[in-house]
């Protein structure tokens, strides 16, 4: 891209250069306005999560919280069951993510490396599943989990998350597996290495970076999932943050500080993850969207 810039400036001259500079400034202004539009609601949220109602209602909306009321956070953490929801979100997200990534890797390995009839059909099944709207499976799933005694049981969430995230996981993994050189594996087999050993000791470590990418994407989806929890789970002890937040905020409609703090608690883990892993997240979302 830098070569481009030089070329641009050398070809243009005089008035054109001025025009180019104005155009460049306008482009920048547009980009900044979009950035403000994207960030502004979140900044406002952060501010009112640190205020009490009086400050929210009487001061200008974007005034800094002069006396940050951190007690909003401790209050909702203890009072609103938010701690329970948070831990549920955490373990369900982690378990479902690990299962999806491991099972997805096994399938991808079998499809790209093993020789069997029907492998392309099975791959097709996984890929087509991406087009199925979740809502069209909701009623039978609800009735199925009811019959096997899994409604109001976290296993219903884990199973659903693994199944619905499997296609995108396999899709991201596929590209990487196809590009992975096979020499190491061939050598390992000639040396008498078993399939299991090869998968877990050689292939899985070699795919570490793409596994990390898929894991992060899975975590974001699982952490944010709403409709399954809302439909399958009824007792507070199994609810995750999305539904928990929804219920809690419904009860405390007037306490803006508490609502703000609750919402901040529910999005902070993702924001912190994004701060450190943004490149991987960007890469994962790009890889998981276009190739289909």
């Amino acid at each position: 891209m830098t070569g481009n810039v030089e070329l641009q400036t050398s070809v243009n001259s005089g008035g054109w250069r001025l025009l180019g500079r104005i155009g460049y400034s306008i482009m920048y202004i547009v980009l900044i306005i979009v950035a403000i539009f994207q960030l502004f609601p979140l900044v406002w949220l952060m501010f009112f999560s640190l205020k009490n109602n009086q400050e929210v209602f009487n001061l200008p909306p974007l005034s800094l919280p002069m006396h940050p009321r951190w007690e909003n956070y401790s209050k909702v953490w203890n009072a609103g069951n938010i701690d329970v929801y948070f831990l549920n979100s955490l373990w369900i997200t982690v378990v479902a993510t690990v299962l999806t990534v491991v099972l997805g890797s096994l399938v991808t390995y079998a499809i790209t490396r093993m020789k069997w009839k029907g492998s392309s059909f099975v791959l097709g099944l996984f890929m087509v599943a991406m087009m199925i709207p979740v809502h069209s499976t909701l009623i039978p799933l609800f009735s199925f989990f009811n019959k096997v005694g899994l409604t109001d049981h976290p296993l219903s969430l884990v199973l659903s998350y693994v199944a619905f995230n499997m296609p995108i996981t396999i899709m991201i993994l596929l590209g990487f597996y196809y590009a992975l050189p096979r020499e190491v594996e061939e050598a390992a087999i000639i040396d008498g290495c078993s399939v299991n050993r090869m998968f877990f000791r050689i292939v899985l470590p070699m795919t570490g970076s793409v596994v990390a990418t898929t894991a992060i994407i899975n975590m974001i989806y699982n952490w944010n999932e709403f409709i399954f929890v809302n439909t399958f789970i009824s007792s507070d002890s199994y609810k995750t943050l999305t539904v928990g937040v929804q219920n809690f905020v419904g009860q405390y409609t007037t306490d803006w500080g508490a609502i703000g703090a609750t919402l901040m608690i529910s999005i902070l883990p993702i924001l912190i993850m994004f701060l450190f892993l943004s490149d991987r997240i960007v890469e994962g979302i790009a890889a998981g969207s276009v190739k289909g």
Binding site: R113, I139, T242
Partner: protein, 293 residues
């Protein structure tokens, strides 16, 4: 080597768990949805087979068609907003310093849960204390509307946070595709005297056409089955004026306990999504694909 890698037991061990799971959780349920739609059923008791009655009723259910119309409007809106995203991506991909930072900032809302986004925008739209009406009042608008309570405004008011949520996603996709175009093409065009505008629309746009097609399917089908924000923010209200197909199905089944009719709606939603995907692919099929690598 072939012997080791075509061991039937190993293949079954690697594939079957996931395959069984996806059959149980995704494929069998969609077949069952279609079947439940042929029954009268309250979700708990026994089913009574009534043939195509639910589907026939659905076809003349004005409320359902209202919700389908709202979903269609959302799909149109999402499809049109792709043009804005594409333009922003073109700017972003054209010799902009900090482009990487911009696209990351744009992406942030997409990473947050729909519930958090919905609750946040409920506050933004709050008639008396929300930031939108505070700003409007401070610039002299006397009676700013109660956005989500106005049947004529509610859909528009819901489209904005949906736009906010997904903008970064599509910009990211377009930006990645644009960055894949070799810079040599760009330079050659410039030497031949092409303007930036010409380069954008005559060279770059055709080259990322395949990506654009994918995003059209994603945006339109994603809108047709859209649910989350609307469910949390208005629950289809006021008085059904923001009901969409997925929320209508949810209300019929899980609120009115009419699981048979709800299933018929859900199955119809599935069929619409698949048909629309196919139609868009067919309409945008390319006679000759452009290669640049």
């Amino acid at each position: 080597m072939d012997k080791v890698l075509s061991n039937k037991k190993m293949i079954a061990l690697y594939v079957l768990p996931s395959l069984l799971l996806i059959l149980t959780i995704v494929y069998i349920p969609i077949v069952l949805t279609g079947y439940y739609g042929l029954n009268e059923w309250n979700g708990i008791g026994s089913m009574k087979f009534i043939g195509l009655e639910n589907y026939a009723n659905l076809m003349k259910d004005g409320k359902f068609w209202d919700s389908a119309w709202h979903s269609l409007l959302l799909a149109l809106f999402s499809g049109l907003s792709l043009i804005i995203y594409l333009m922003i991506s073109m700017v972003l991909a054209a010799r902009i310093k900090g482009a990487n930072l911009f696209r990351k900032i744009y992406l942030i809302p997409m990473l947050l849960s729909s519930v958090a986004i919905a609750q946040l925008w409920l506050r933004i739209y709050n008639p008396s204390n929300g930031i939108l009406n505070s700003v409007l009042q401070s610039i002299g608008v006397d009676n700013p509307p109660a956005w989500l309570a106005e049947p004529s405004l509610v859909l528009l008011a819901l489209f904005i946070p949906i736009l906010w949520q997904y903008a970064g996603f599509y910009i990211l996709i377009y930006y990645a595709a644009l960055k894949n175009i070799p810079t040599s093409l760009d330079e050659a065009a410039r030497i031949d005297g092409a303007t930036s505008w010409q380069i954008a629309w005559k060279i770059k746009f055709p080259l990322i056409m395949e990506t654009v097609k994918v995003t059209i399917v994603l945006a339109v089908v994603g809108s047709l089955k859209y649910f989350d924000l609307i469910f949390v923010m208005t629950d289809g209200g006021p008085n059904g004026s923001s009901e969409v197909m997925a929320s209508y199905m949810y209300h019929t089944a899980f609120r009115a306990y009419d699981f048979g009719y709800g299933s018929a709606t859900a199955f119809f939603l599935l069929v619409i999504c698949l048909v629309v995907t196919w139609v868009i692919r067919w309409l945008t099929r390319s006679k000759d694909t452009i290669q640049y690598s």
